[in-house]
Subunit: 456 residues, 2 copies
């Protein structure tokens, strides 16, 4: 509508016709498989509570790498169950599409155009060429990071856990959970036992950032570092510049605001470095990871609401995170600033933003606000929880963050299904969701006279 | 940015340079005058609590026709004080600009271009010609409606009040409060005493709608009815069609949702017509009037949140109401629908919506969401009230609605000042506010290369 080409002739819209729908089927299939696997008797400890609703919820939460859960993982699953979860986080975090392509590559199958488009949709890449090698690089990198993280944490956890088996299992799970930004824990109380262990927190923060910063950023950094001949004329893309600077600005801003809001609250009597690490860790984790070093219920209402806003914004596109995404937020703010100043174009990093992208970012915001408002009203009708806990829970699901004030297990089935839908939308991205839901009928191409309308 | 002309060369932006700022000065002056008048000893009952903060708050609330108040009007003001309030509602409701133009007209002064622009800004009119006669018609109509309303209610109130003086004072105040959508009351408990009197409610609903439907709609209806020669070829404007249909759709939708949400709550044991009138009246009043026939605290959380959403949307542009306005909401939804279907243009009522208006509606939404989120976080930090009451209060101030869960008087001064700002922004409109705040520096007209970015 706002572009030179009608939207139904634009690339993104054409892609919607089948790949977006195929993507949904794959996600649903993954959720189904994981729920069945988790429901196998071998996956669960004897006597642990377990229902079909739990199975679907935990499966949906792990495939969408959200981390909300209706059961305590450490009290419910056996080691086999935990490895099934790790598997689910991988196919969720790395992306079902990436993995299936990866298998196609391994087994030597040719990747057809349809499959390529499918992958492109999932990882939201703009460059078609080099897609296959990109996927290989992504999978290799993420696995490498996870293994390194597991080793470092496993060795370090020898200080914390009685046996080396337990230390390394905890290390592996923690590394996978952080890198995929899943936010699950098998300690039973997230990272609260390590609230004063800055080393564990530092490693976790690094892993979370590597997962949430977005795959394209990795690839560009790798190209920058290792492609010697290109080095002199190598340029980071506008996308990488915007998403990375927004990511770190939000991280820093979040840290400062949390310190400010809790200065006379949670941080009273705590040293500056303790307060700083609490704020930094929670600011990082609200981007989409969901791990916590404190109990959200101990924080002030205003901090909880601010954190909800951070989760609503979410992580970078083409990352393991959810929410409206950093680029959406950045373009919204840039647009507002330039509109208010009466500027014709949005200039940033010596580039101009394409108008169609600005429109897209506004569509995402509009849809997200509607979704958010309706979800909160529905949950406040069906659930017995406090409004604050509901707002936090909805933000957490949509941002695929997974932090909770502890109401997840007590939700009604309606509430749980709503969260499952929110996690799905948060993970596939709200634009993909819009195109899935919208029909494909074209309207006849004719015009009425234009007429102005008074606005706000 | 999205238009053929750069925004700083567009009409609306040029207007921002002085008239918007002049408008602010006028509003502030009106608030100052009203606070001084209300602070005169003759205006207040002996022994009534009164502070400078109360004076500013009640003055700002009456000039913005919001209706939130930190004191009980019936226990604070004398009859003189009540007439001062009625005066304040007139200059707020009818519009300071309209009144000052009206006085210029009366005293025979010529209206210069600057004054014309100023009026145009306030009433947000697109047609420059016929402005003066438009203003005359508006003022005459609104006064006529108020007088008729006061007569009808005054006579009817003889059943309720011991003396005819009191009946007619109550009738006059109720009529002015409803027509200007101010929502103040001097009964001490809004319209709750008339919760089962459908006649009073019906008259009030009519007066509220006449105030909130927007002045341009009145003028067009009048032209349609009385301009005989034009009748055959008279056409309602696209604006009138959109705003009126949205207004009534929201009113009907609101009634149905309130009935649904309270079916197993507040409406248990009530007859269908009682429930229907409760729902209808509250749905009408949330558009921006703020009068109530029940205590909001008796409603379910979900109903209160839904009502907050209605207040956030607000009334029609160029009316006595606030919020993001009906046209903004309608264009947002139409845009989303057409974008999802891949339509190039937004067609409605056999007209096409101008692209610049769609952009404007998105700017309004974006700004409103930011303002809303930040205000709620700040108030949840400074105030001791429940989150639900805070969300309702912020919506009420921004929507210049005035309904409250009863926390207004207990707010901190920071909270009160924030509400004063929200009432002001709600009343002048968020776009006007944006242009007031934005600087007027033009950026050099050059271009960088465009580059695509991945969104959401
Ligand atoms: K997560
Ligand atoms: K009002």
């Amino acid at each position: 509508m706002m572009n030179d080409k009608p939207i139904h002739k634009q690339k993104l819209y054409r892609l919607a016709l089948t790949p977006f729908r195929l993507l949904v089927s794959y996600y649903i299939m993954a959720v189904a498989v994981v729920s069945i696997l988790l429901s196998l008797p071998v996956a669960r400890q004897k006597g642990a509570d377990w229902s079909a609703m739990d199975a679907v919820f935990v499966a949906a939460s792990s495939v969408s790498v959200t981390g909300l859960t209706t059961v305590d993982l450490s009290e419910t699953f056996t080691i086999t169950g935990i490895f099934i979860l790790i598997f689910a986080l991988q196919i969720g975090g790395i992306g079902i599409m990436t993995i299936s392509t990866f298998f196609w590559l391994i087994f030597g199958k040719k990747i057809g155009l349809k499959q390529r488009q499918l992958i492109k949709t999932d990882q939201n890449q703009l460059n078609f060429s080099g897609l296959v090698s990109l996927l290989r690089q992504i999978v290799a990198l993420i696995l490498l990071i996870e293994v390194l993280g597991a080793l470092v944490l496993g060795v370090y956890y020898l200080n914390y856990f009685p046996t080396w088996q337990e230390a390394f299992l905890q290390g592996l799970f923690a590394a996978v959970s952080a890198t995929t930004n899943a936010g699950f824990d098998i300690t039973g109380q997230s990272l609260i036992p390590f609230a004063r262990d800055y080393f564990v927190q530092f490693v976790t923060i690094i892993l979370i950032i590597l997962g949430a910063i977005g795959f394209p950023v990795w690839i560009e950094v790798k190209n920058f570092l290792f492609n010697k001949p290109l080095k002199n004329r190598f340029q980071f893309s506008l996308f990488t510049k915007i998403t990375t600077s927004t990511y770190f600005l939000l991280l820093g801003f979040g840290t400062i605001v949390i310190i400010f809001l809790e200065f006379n609250g949670y941080f009273v009597g705590k040293s500056w470095h303790e307060s700083f690490f609490y704020a930094l860790f929670q600011s990082t984790t609200m981007r989409s990871a969901g791990l916590l070093t404190l109990d959200i219920n101990d924080l002030h209402h205003s901090t909880v609401l601010f954190m909800s806003a951070l989760m609503f914004i979410g992580a970078s596109p083409s990352s393991v995170g959810g929410g409206i995404r950093t680029t959406t937020f950045a373009l919204n703010i840039l647009f507002l600033y330039h509109y208010a100043r009466g500027n014709r174009s949005i200039k940033v990093f010596k580039r101009e933003i394409h108008q169609a992208d600005v429109i897209k970012s506004l569509v995402v915001l509009l849809l997200a606000v509607l979704l958010y408002g309706i979800s909160i009203i529905i949950l406040s009708y069906t659930e017995d929880a406090s409004l604050l806990a509901i707002i936090f829970e909805v933000s957490s699901a949509f941002g695929t963050c997974g932090a909770s004030m502890g109401i997840t297990a007590d939700l009604t089935n309606t509430g749980k299904w709503l969260l499952i839908i929110l996690m799905f939308i948060g993970r596939v991205g709200i634009l993909s969701f819009l195109f899935i839901m919208s029909s494909n009928e074209k309207e006849p191409d004719f015009h009425y006279p234009k007429e102005r309308v008074i606005i706000g």
